[in-house]
Amino acid sequence: MRPVSIIGVGCTKFGERWDDSLRDLVVETGVAAIEDSGVTGEEIDALYVGNMSGGRFVEQEHIGALIADYAGLSRLHIPSTRVEAACASGGLALRQAFLAVASGYCDIVIAAGVEKMTDVSSGVAADALAAAADREWECFFGATFPALYAMMARLHMRRFGTTRDQLSLVAVKNHHHGCLNPISQYQTEITVEDVLCSPMVADPLHILDCSPITDGAAALVLAPAEIAKKYSDTPIRILASAQASDTLALHDRRDLTTLDATVHAGRSAFQQAGLTPPQIDLAEVHDCFTIAEILAIEDLGFVPKGSGGKAVEDGMTALSGALPVNTSGGLKACGHPVGATGIKQAYEIALQLRGEAGKRQVDEAEFGLAHNVGGSGGTAIVHIFSR
């Protein structure tokens, strides 16, 4: 195994991109990342793309070949692979690219993620997303993703006294961060009252507790650390890449208020990096719902189990706090084009560690963590990065 660095990054504006198709988004982000790295097409050894459900959202599978083709690389016949782990598809693409470079099998590898979600009605989109849960034993009975997280939220509130306001504060904070991020889908501040007054989706979660339907794509260029400086003045080292799985259905989990996949992937990542949670300067965590951010900071070991809501309320996770969380705006405000999210998280950390995060820059950021979850916790992927 050899050390791996990110030498180039790109990300599209997230949002409802009515004018752009899946391939338009891929081209936009691919060009940005490749230009940022300065690599030539001929140097690229492999592509990995995270995409959850091209088949349902745009009736297009075979996304691997498609992105190589539309990135203008078809004549180079580069191996291009689509990977899928529901909402963790992006994080998984990064991990596959990382493994390819770390193993020595490849040198320059692109890790990308894309999802085009607005070409279908919201009902169809909800059903496509529900495919990340257990179709036969959850969705068949009417389960939706908000419903699964709502059930976790209700139990967390009951067991640990997490309050409705603490959930809202996650959304308020992430919308604030989103306002500082030019690519963010939402550029509006919201209040605790706004969350509470927004329509109920699955009690106790309101629409403003939920991440939106988003179009977007992101890409990273990876290279062995030893040659990274040749391409970038500010290469970002990938210190750890960890992945863990758990039962597909929420009801089969050991504990309904813990994502064990996150716990295991987190522990493994900290071990690989030789770091402990307090050493992390900022984190992008998988806040598909407000409760998910609270669970994530607990399960990653940043705060003790049950105290995530309190930590948010105390400002620990704000931009000015001890551990700024989701400076991009998170899935909640920046948007959640499912296959692209894991790559966008790494993109945000890379910008922060390079010192290029503009108005939302975390001072002196040295170590950053990205946490990407598939489904209700059947997959978790954690990466740790350093300057």
Partner: protein, 136 residues
């Protein structure tokens, strides 16, 4: 229209009568059924088991915004239910949202779970209702 008849038919024993499995080696009960016991793996001795269907609500939500197939049924309540034999499952509870509470005892009823539009098959199966003292 495309019917999912074979897929529904395959699960009829589970949908209608909560037929799960039981591992004789470790004593664990599984619903939904598993043919590989995670405790014993290759040492497992799995056989079918019909669950009583009574249990309690571990957690729940009331859904106001559903996927297309369930859009006309909102609001409806969904719960994770722990069966008396041990395993947990996800199912609908037929009760007013304000009746729902954690720890509530439930029992099974036979209901329509979904329909393939106006022309396809009807998915029958098990939902749950609050188990007040037996109605009698």
């Amino acid at each position: 229209m495309t019917s999912k008849a074979p897929r529904f038919w395959r699960c009829i024993p589970q949908r209608y009568n909560l037929i799960g499995t039981h591992c004789h080696n470790c004593g664990e009960y599984y619903f939904p059924p598993r043919t590989l016991c995670p405790n014993c793996r290759r040492d497992a001795k799995i056989e079918d088991y019909k669950f009583k269907g009574t249990g309690k609500v571990v957690t729940y939500t009331t859904i106001y915004n559903a996927t297309e197939d369930f859009d006309r049924m909102t609001p409806y309540s969904l719960a994770i239910i722990q069966l008396d034999e041990g395993p947990r499952l996800t199912g609908q509870v037929v009760a007013a949202p304000e009746e729902m509470r954690i720890g509530m005892r439930v029992k099974p009823v036979f209901r329509i779970l979904g329909k393939e539009g106006e022309r396809g098959i009807i998915y029958y199966g098990t939902k749950f209702v609050p188990a007040e003292e037996e109605i009698r």
